[in-house]
Symmetry: C2
């Protein structure tokens, strides 16, 4: 085993001035993820500036048996990028590899460094009259390498798919330090196994994404936002099927907002007023967008009429200006803030067949309320993806320990119900560390074995983000 | 090694009456693919009716070291499903597993057997007022298991993506006979490595796809077809970027048809007349479709005007009836027939960044003509996917051997140019056997090793479609 001093010397020499951080103070911000989760102090923080440097650092770690963890913008929600406490890890931060390499509007593609911040990618696309549609709350800080590694979702998935569908090519430093160069800007390529798929959603356990070729779309010229009031979730599902048709698949968002969420939003943002006259059990916040001459307003009005006739909606408002649209979207931001203000609570990210949402919601609500009548359920989400954030606010006044135990119990119950409905306990957030136990509980044997085999194939020494998704092998 | 008689007895017992074919005459049609390629006589043909039976057959082969090859609708173009001559294989045909299991229009999904014929899937989707958009010439015979295993492309890729983007879940019999049950009807699922990606496009070398959950879309209510005359390929590329915008990504096809193809079509189909007054170097056959109230005609007319002003098109015709639209599409079918009528020729399926198509086409044409001035180049394709079928008709009157040698030489030259432009030698047809040599020539070492590793991981005995994509290991 190499000494800490030798490691520092070698990596400093390799990375140059500013390339390696070793002081506790300097490393502090690499220990914390956005929701406030905190990891251990890493061995050091490597900040390479080129793919070659990443490869050299990884190769060095491979030769000296040093575990490492790649880091993007620290906005993960499952603790995947937090340094380990038991086996000190080298953090490899891509923050100094943040360039847009090339934008190709004719090919509807762009190539970027793995450390490129999502917002700067969206800006560069827009400057070329194109759109990179991935849209996340964290887009001002999250990095594309992290988006690829976590197969990020977000608001526009129903139209553009998750990150996996937006990747044309990848460049990855493999756990032994070799470089997989798959930076082809091809919309179709059936030459052999599609290796880039391995790294998308692997949460940094199979390699470090140092570059990506992304798929672009025409930039929307017009968009329309509406808020619809619906009698129940079943009506929302019917309305969704209708909206897909009426709006010709130009829908970019279709968000379920239950009344409780609207109230939370108004609590957090006192200038926010009830957008419709009478309260309604559930709302839909929807958006449609188009890059050419389409009358979105007529489409949405057509939807209003048909939905109203079918009893799927009782009221609605179509934003007539950008300001009105922003105000409607503000509800969604404010409701997240309202949740945060309520202190520690259970946040989940489950997905189900859309057609099971009503039955799932009913059963989950019943069982959670039976277990804890004073809990408040806040179940909102991306209807078009079958993705519910079925969150639970515990009763106020509980001691920290009792609260944690209660939330854990409620989560276990909820996940059992998800499993009964053939759903997923992680629609978009991934597994990381926090969901590993629940994930492994229902993972069938052949899948576990193949996943283990993939890890062994690419990272036989188990040095790349060890312990995330899959547990360490028994030593 | 088990005797042939024991194998017949055991598999007959396992599969029941009609489940196993062993007579040469009965097995004839399992030796031939649609383009006329012919394989060896198989050991036998197993025709299971359930996933359980497939698993039992595969498990039996695994125990007794018998190589096998899954077969779908025999429409492959690279010889992947043809039985091997040197190592007699058991054919596993999914033709008796052809049911639609369930259609769920609320979830925009359906689940089907692996042997389900694509057309029957499209019909079932339509009956539920939905659309399964995969669209291929072979859709009346090809099976979804084959479509998944070859990551099928086709006409509508620019809007809906390739097969990979249309799969929500898979059921696969693994090479050891175990069943991977990933039949979840989820639009989002980030719980661990996405194993289904391994089997999509693996050409049956990693498992047999016995079931799939497919993604559906709203059924188009209106569509419009147009034929545009353009001065050159560069203009076509500019027009494509314009059309993506003008038609709000409602484009379902954007096909390049050079003048030579139109002439071939008219040759093959004498009732076909020149659709525009003056001949033009290249044409675009385009289609847009929508599920709701959109004025596609106005959109396309807007495109006409803007394209005309920008010098990207010189003339065009917008079909004003379904009959007219069918007549325009008939050009594309007739040109394929025209090619076939010319006898043996070089068929390729290359892809490039769309922005490189002009330069690639120029250089490839120059070099091919320099090598063989009397060859006729027929380069048509899916512009929006950067996918060219750059085909070459040899001069007439060559002896079979000389022709084969010439076509081989031209192919090698063409593939070198594809490689220089960072393209792919197989956009949608796959590798199978026929493209293996060319594929391996430019495959970088780490990729070769990972592909080998994947094969070893899932099929350590090398019994599942051996020799396809990757060569057999040296024994």
């Amino acid at each position: 085993m190499i000494t800490r001093e030798a490691l520092f010397d070698d990596l400093s020499a390799l990375l140059g001035k500013g390339g390696l951080l070793t002081e506790s103070g300097d490393m502090e911000r690499y220990r914390v993820d956005w929701p406030g989760y905190r990891g251990a102090e890493p061995l050091a923080v490597a900040r390479p500036t080129t793919t070659r440097q990443v490869a050299e650092v990884v190769s060095y770690c491979h030769r000296h048996d040093i575990p490492l963890v790649p880091q993007g913008g620290h906005s993960g929600l499952v603790g995947g990028a937090l340094p380990d406490a038991d086996y000190p890890e080298l953090v490899v931060s891509l923050e100094r590899m943040a360039s847009v390499r090339q934008v190709d509007p004719i090919n509807f593609s762009m190539s970027v460094d793995g450390g490129c911040v999502l917002q700067s990618i969206k800006d560069a696309a827009e400057a070329a009259d194109c759109d990179f549609p991935l849209s996340l709350g964290a887009q001002g800080s999250c990095q594309i390498g992290g988006n690829v590694s976590t197969n990020a979702g977000g608001l526009n998935v129903l139209r553009y798919g998750m990150m996996r569908q937006l990747v044309l090519g990848l460049e990855v430093v493999l756990p032994d330090g070799r470089i997989y160069n798959g930076m082809k800007a091809l919309h179709k390529n059936n030459a052999g196994y599609d290796l880039k798929q391995l790294f998308i959603g692997a949460e940094g356990t199979l390699g470090i994404v140092t570059g990506a070729v992304l798929k672009l779309f025409p930039r929307p010229q017009v968009s329309r936002t509406a808020l619809l009031a619906c009698p129940d979730i079943d009506a929302v599902l019917g309305l969704y099927a209708l909206a897909r048709r009426s709006c010709c698949d130009l829908l970019t968002a279709f968000e379920l907002v239950p009344r409780a969420c609207l109230e939370l939003a108004m609590e957090a943002s006192p200038d926010l007023r009830d957008p419709l006259e009478a309260p309604s059990p559930v709302y839909v916040l929807m958006e449609a967008a188009a890059s050419g001459p389409v009358d979105l307003e007529a489409m949405i009005e057509d939807l209003f009429e048909r939905g109203f006739e079918a009893g799927m909606l009782t009221d609605g408002v179509l934003a007539s200006s950008d300001t009105q649209a922003r105000n409607l979207w503000h509800i969604r931001e404010a409701m997240l803030e309202g949740q945060r203000n309520r202190g520690e609570h259970l946040r989940t990210d489950v997905s189900l067949p859309i057609s099971s949402l009503t039955a799932f919601h009913q059963r989950a609500s019943d069982e959670i309320q039976a277990l804890c009548p004073q809990a408040t359920i806040i179940a909102y989400g991306h209807i078009g993806d079958g993705n519910l954030h079925f969150n639970i606010l515990p009763p106020p006044g509980l001691e920290a320990e009792a609260r944690a135990a209660l939330l854990h119990e409620l989560e276990e119950r909820l996940f059992e119900i998800v499993d009964d409905f053939d759903g997923s306990i992680s629609a978009e957030h991934g597994i990381g560390r926090f969901k590993q136990t629940a994930f492994l509980e229902t993972l069938p044997e052949p899948e576990y074995e193949i996943m283990r085999g993939l890890k062994r194939l690419l990272d036989p020494r188990y040095l790349m983000s060890p312990g995330r998704i899959l547990p360490r092998p028994i030593e």
